[in-house]
């Protein structure tokens, strides 16, 4: 079972993703956070997380910055950057920060679940 944490400032998107991904087989939503800071706090509290789904655009720590921190502190956690930006520069930036996958927000839930399982 893949333990997943969703970090998304937009509440509609965060709740929608939690609701739909929780229904996917082999994925367990262990935590969600509306900002990078809260996410780091929850990680520090000892929650076991395998994969983190992080929004690119957030107030405070951006998705890329949070990725860098997470990969520095807990390198075993796989990070998937979720964004609406499709340009390669964004993708390269995310990969450089340590993200395992770069996913556009137009992807179907099934495809997203498949990537979570594969990373």
């Amino acid at each position: 079972m893949i333990k997943l944490m969703i970090v998304e400032d937009n509440e509609v998107v965060r709740q929608g993703l939690s609701h739909l991904l929780a229904a996917e087989a082999g994925i367990a939503i262990v935590a969600d956070a509306q900002s990078g800071a809260i996410a780091l706090e929850k990680l520090a509290s000892g929650i076991g997380v395998d994969v983190m789904l992080i929004d690119w655009n957030m107030p405070g720590l951006s998705g890329v910055e949070l990725t860098s921190r997470v990969k520095l502190l807990m390198p075993h956690i796989k990070v998937i950057i979720l964004t609406m930006h499709s340009k390669d520069e964004y993708r390269m930036q995310a990969i450089s920060a340590g993200a395992s996958a770069y996913v556009l927000k137009d992807l179907a839930i099934e495809d997203l679940a498949k990537i979570i399982r594969e990373v």
Binding site: N10, G16, H19, N57, P59
Partner: protein, 865 residues
């Protein structure tokens, strides 16, 4: 002298004879008074008595080597001796005669004689000589009696004794006669002098009483003048008291003092008894105990009277001089005259024009009756009138005695006039006035009195003439002064007008001059500060004149001569063609010109802008060309700098605009991405739940949720759209638009928005700027301040707009203030482009106060920004 005893022994009888001769000799000599008679008689008697060939006496002066033969007598055996002999020719006799009688029995045989002696004696035929000499002192022979023979003779002692005695007696007789003659001559001279001097001279002997008080004097001698002066006939041996009993004691005292003290004295004094004034010099004579005085004196009565008269006349002149009117002059003159003469009245009569009438012009009376005011000459006797008209002075000493001027004494007795005198005054031969004085007792009018009358008449007349002339002069002066004053006033007025006019002209000129100087200084200063110089080219003379500024521009000494060609010298190669054109313009152009040259001045490249203006004369010919050269190098540099700055500003505006645009795009992108995009993504995710096998309840829940999300998406789209173009602003104005922002942003933060409009609606771009600035500041508060309340105030003034946003949030960190914080840098740059300013006051924990001021005018001037 020879010893008489010896002689006696030689022959008593002979001596007796000789003695008888000597008695006879003396008796004879005594009969003569004259020395010459005595001398002649003496030598004759001696020659006869001693049977001499020649006897003579001579006066000797050794100092002159002269022996003058005074008297001689003898026969032809020895010819008469020359008048003068030289004693030096008879050295030996001279030597011997110094000590005593000189005797030579034979001049040829006597060995004592020198050859010279012999030769000289031979020359005058002397063979025997006996000389007896009278000496002064012991060695100085002065007189000699000489007996000579033409043959040798043995002189006996009796001969010598007789000769010596005779010499003594003769010398004495001659000297006595000479003294008597001298005395007689002296006496004669004294007498002559005594009687010839004008001054009176007398010798007196003082007589004192027992108390040594001088009481009288005896006249011992008196000269002719004294008799003449005093009229006395016999004074010698008379006492003065006897001669003049009333002679004042003063004279006795004064002479007594001189006699006692022996001190001579000179003095002037009046002898009242004699009515005379004397000038006296008295000195003691003879022995003091004789109490004799010589008195030399003269009568100075006339002089004294003349002096007194002169003093009176001076006093009269002094009294009349200050008087200004004729009446006072006449009265004063008459008063002084009457008092001086001691008469009862004095009148000044003045003739009138008809030559007959006369009136009393001035009068002074002392107990006298008044005279009629006007009288006529024709009423007086013809002789008196004739006397007056001929200028003759008339004086009557006693009116009681009838005569030429007094026909009847009774008339005078009635008016109390005992004596009178009148002095007429003629001018140019015409009787003009006369003075008359009356005495109430008979009086002898002296010359001085009449002369004084004459002088007073003249002086009074002169004073009258003077006062009349002065009066006329005063009248004329007054008239002239009035005329002069009028003339002066008129002239002064004219001069004042002229001066005012001149002053105005002068002031104007001065002002113009000052202006010119000011202009010149200003020009110099301007030339200096503006780096320019001016010049003038005279087309007629071809002379170019530079101002100091020009010399400064070309870095030349201001005495350097210049011509238009100078431009060629300094112009850089690429501007040479232009320089030639400038020269052409200066020398020949008939129109104004302007050219820019690049010149090399002392190795420095300057850009000169040259402007020239032609100046024409009255005939329309071009006379001069005036020009200005300006160093525009710096101006050019400045222009380029401004251009660069403008370009940089443009670039900045472009960057800011671009940045603003980018921000705007970013914001819109954010809004789309985070707002609408996320909502749409949320809808998409939720729509994934509509799968097969979904329960109806779940379907309905999801449907409702998606519906809500779609509504949110529509609202968000509207918001973004609204943000892109605030329609409220456009449609309802700034106030409504700001209220709208307040409403939209109020939630967690309570916004209190106030807007005060003191000015009509702003231009559209300005409204938009105010709106955007406020919106961004408020959005910043929402995003970063963590505040609970925020005051927003907008004041639209007449010349500026003020926006204040003040929150109670966490405040700004100091470094953020420096860096203008998040988003503030972009707001600040936009405000600065509008010439506005942004200030921040913030302390951590105490909120943030941001104030923005944007000038209104700047906006209207730069509407394009």
């Amino acid at each position: 002298m020879a010893d008489k005893k010896e002689y006696k022994e030689a022959g008593q009888s002979a001596w007796k004879e000789r003695q008888a001769f000597l008695l006879r000799f003396s008796d004879t000599l005594r009969t003569y008074n004259n020395q010459h008679d005595i001398g002649k008689a003496a030598v004759e008697m001696l020659a006869k008595e001693l049977v001499l060939d020649r006897c003579y006496c001579s006066m000797i002066s050794l100092s002159k080597d002269q022996a003058n033969i005074l008297y001689q007598s003898g026969n032809s055996l020895i010819p008469p001796i020359p008048c003068t002999l030289s004693p030096a020719n008879f050295p030996e006799p001279l030597m011997q005669s110094i000590d005593g009688p000189f005797l030579v029995n034979d001049t040829v045989a006597d060995e004592r004689l020198t050859a010279v002696d012999r030769e000289c004696f031979a020359a005058i035929s002397f063979r025997a000589v006996a000389a007896c000499t009278i000496r002064r002192g012991k060695k100085d022979p002065v007189w000699s009696l000489v007996a000579t023979q033409s043959v040798p003779r043995n002189w006996t002692a009796v001969d010598i004794m007789l000769l010596e005695e005779a010499a003594e007696r003769l010398y004495g007789a001659i000297e006595n006669a000479r003294a008597l003659t001298a005395l007689a001559e002296s006496e004669k001279k004294y007498r002559t002098l005594f009687n010839s001097i004008d001054e009176c001279f007398c010798i007196i002997q003082m007589i004192f009483d027992e108390n040594r008080k001088p009481v009288d004097y005896l006249v011992l001698e008196a000269n002719r003048a004294l008799y003449e002066l005093t009229g006395l006939t016999d004074v010698i041996g008379k006492r003065m008291r006897e001669l003049a009993p009333a002679h004042e004691q003063f004279w006795y005292d004064k002479y007594g003092e001189i006699a006692l003290t022996g001190e001579p004295a000179r003095f002037q004094h009046e002898a009242d008894a004699l009515n005379r004034w004397y000038d006296v010099y008295a000195f003691p004579m003879g022995k003091p105990q004789e109490l004799k005085l010589a008195v030399l004196f003269k009568d100075i009565t006339e002089r004294k009277h003349a002096e007194k008269r002169q003093v009176f006349l001076l006093r009269l002149s002094d009294a009349l001089r200050p008087l200004a009117d004729p009446f006072s002059v006449q009265n004063t003159a008459m008063e002084l005259l009457a008092k001086w003469l001691g008469v009862m009245n004095a009148s000044y009569f003045e003739m009138e024009g008809d030559g007959d009438s006369f009136h009393v012009a001035g009068h002074f009376k002392d107990q006298a009756k008044d005279l009629p005011e006007r009288m006529r000459l024709s009423d007086f006797s013809d002789s008196l009138v004739a006397a007056y008209q001929s200028g003759r002075t008339v004086a009557v000493n006693d009116t009681g005695i009838t005569g030429e001027w007094v026909k009847s004494s009774e008339i005078y007795a009635r008016i109390g006039v005992a004596a009178w005198a009148a002095v007429p005054l003629l001018k140019h031969g015409k009787l003009v006035a006369w003075i008359g004085v009356n005495s109430n007792k008979p009086r002898v009018w002296s010359e001085v009195d009449l002369q004084t009358l004459n002088d007073v008449a003249k002086r009074t007349w002169d004073a009258l003439e003077r006062t009349r002339a002065e009066q006329a002069l005063r009248d004329a002066e007054l008239k002239y002064r009035i005329q002069l004053e009028n003339d002066v006033k008129k002239r002064t007025r004219e001069l004042q007008e002229s001066r005012d006019s001149l002053q105005t002209i002068f002031d104007e000129r001065l002002k113009a001059e000052e202006e010119r100087n000011k202009t010149y200084l200003l020009l110099q200063k301007s030339e200096e500060t503006a780096s320019l110089g001016s010049w003038e080219f005279n087309r007629f003379t071809g002379q170019l004149t530079w101002s100091d500024g020009m010399y400064r521009l070309f870095d030349l000494n201001n005495t350097t001569p210049v011509t238009p060609i100078i431009y060629l010298k300094y112009t850089v190669e690429k501007s040479l063609a232009k320089a030639e054109k400038v020269i052409q313009y200066i020398q020949n152009s008939d129109a104004d010109f302007e050219e820019t040259l690049e010149v090399n001045i002392s190795g420095k490249i300057k850009v000169l802008r040259i402007k020239g203006t032609v100046v024409r004369n009255g005939q329309g010919d071009i006379e001069r060309v005036l020009g200005v050269d300006q160093d525009i190098s710096e101006m050019r540099g400045a222009e380029e700098k401004i251009k660069k700055m403008e370009q940089e500003q443009q670039l900045q505006i472009f960057r800011t605009s671009l940045s603003t645009l980018e921000e705007e795009r970013h914001r819109i992108s954010e809004s789309l991405h985070n707002g609408i995009g996320q909502l749409l993504y949320g809808i998409k995710i939720n729509m994934s739940s509509f799968r097969h096998g979904i329960s109806e309840e779940e379907f309905n829940q999801n449907k409702a949720y998606i519906n809500e999300l779609l509504t949110q998406a529509i609202v968000e789209t509207r918001r973004v759209s609204h943000e892109l173009m605030p329609t409220t602003l456009e449609q309802f104005g700034l106030k409504s638009a700001i209220d709208d922002i307040c409403r939209q942003l109020s939630g967690e933060i309570e916004f209190n928005c106030h807007i005060s409009v003191q000015h009509n609606r702003l231009e559209k771009y300005m409204e938009l700027a105010v709106y955007r600035t406020t919106q961004e500041l408020m959005t910043n508060v929402v995003k970063h301040a963590k505040a609970t309340a925020c005051e927003v105030m907008i004041i639209i003034g007449t010349d500026q707009v003020k926006i204040v946003v003040s929150d109670n949030g966490r405040g700004m960190p100091q470094e953020s203030e420096k860096a203008d914080g998040i988003g503030l840098a972009s707001i600040r740059s936009k405000i600065e482009l509008l010439d506005g300013r942004l200030t921040i006051a913030s302390e951590p924990g105490n909120g943030t106060h941001i104030e923005v001021i944007i000038p209104h005018q700047g906006l209207t001037q730069k509407p394009g920004r």
